[in-house]
Subunit: 210 residues, 2 copies
């Protein structure tokens, strides 16, 4: 009966799913370095070498984990964007809001997404899971006539880069600690605003919130 995970038979039945689940648990509690094949196997109650049947090496396990995390992120972004059907700026802000919220809630999961040394270089499943999130981002800025200096794709990468760069530094506490302790959470809103309005041309508004 493959549907019973706690089966005490020799064969686990659904070990692959159980391994991923325990790996996620370890990732959340102990961080990326805390995820080891042997520890995961221990949690699943199987021998240290049992995972080898489902994941040929550690990177394979971590890649499957990362793909699952990208899928979660996609769902979070989708949910957040359903609450907003407004203008381009609001849609971009909703995207950023969802990613920031996810990363701050599950910092280690978010970090793993970019830990390329721990992942398989061109894993198909992982790649398509990431592309799905990227497609959502494209959806936030396309549709209207594009007469910007930069292309649609460049602007998408710009948004993605900024959100990601901000998060990595915030999660690590670099540069941010002294600033965010004062202004609290919505700093990322100001960051996105800076991107939307530009920082090189001159004043484009009166209100300053951060």
């Amino acid at each position: 009966m493959p549907s019973s995970p706690s089966n005490q038979s020799y064969h686990h039945g659904s070990l692959r799913a159980a391994l991923l689940s325990h790996a996620m648990e370890l990732l959340d509690t102990k961080g990326i370095e805390g995820v080891s094949i042997r520890a995961v196997a221990r949690l699943a109650g199987v021998a240290h070498s049992a995972p080898a049947n489902h994941f040929p090496n550690k990177r394979s396990l971590m890649s499957a984990l990362a793909a699952r995390i990208f899928n979660q992120l996609e769902n979070e972004v989708l949910a957040q964007m359903e609450t907003t059907s407004g203008q381009r700026a609001e849609r971009v802000m909703a995207f950023a809001e969802a990613v920031v919220a996810f990363a701050l809630t599950y910092p280690h999961r978010y970090r793993l997404l970019w830990r390329r040394e721990s992942l398989i270089d061109h894993d198909a499943e992982l790649h398509s899971a990431m592309e799905a999130v990227y497609a959502l981002l494209i959806g936030t800025i396309e549709g209207e006539d594009d007469e910007f200096t930069t292309s649609l794709e460049t602007r998408a990468i710009a948004i993605w880069s900024m959100v990601h760069g901000y998060l990595i530094m915030r999660l690590d506490g670099n540069l941010m600690e002294k600033t965010d302790e004062l202004t609290q959470a919505p700093r990322h809103r100001a960051i996105i605003t800076a991107l939307l309005e530009g920082i090189g041309g001159g004043p484009s508004g009166a209100r300053r919130d951060c």
Copy 2:
């Protein structure tokens, strides 16, 4: 004679500097995971436990390495910015240009700078080395009257985030491969341009280069 590294005496003389040098060499050739205390000691020709006298643990070694890398980056940025004494946009571009060039030349060094799990949380030397680069960035955008929607600090973090986010994804090959193979290197110029001109308000120029 502490100035002779290849001294065959029992005491190395300048082991700490030699260890850092060999660690940098390993970092460049084998990546972050390739830097191990024992491998570094092997390269230096000392016992596997000799580094413990100079670095209490691995994070201490990696932090010293990262601080040295930040210092190198600071010099690169300084050199690049001396070639440009132009407007704000050109200074920002020069900063980005220097960081991008450094990261593409020494990808593993750049990656280590943000590998917080491998570094000491609040190492003083590392922190001040990073702040020095941050101060250069502040210098690129301050001076003129600030009447932007966002604060000076927010705009600095925005630039830094965008450059960093772009680089991490480009080094990893995420999202970038299919785009950069077409447009080649100067994609990051377009990214910075997007930030300078803004992406939310509407067209602000006619020329489109990427």
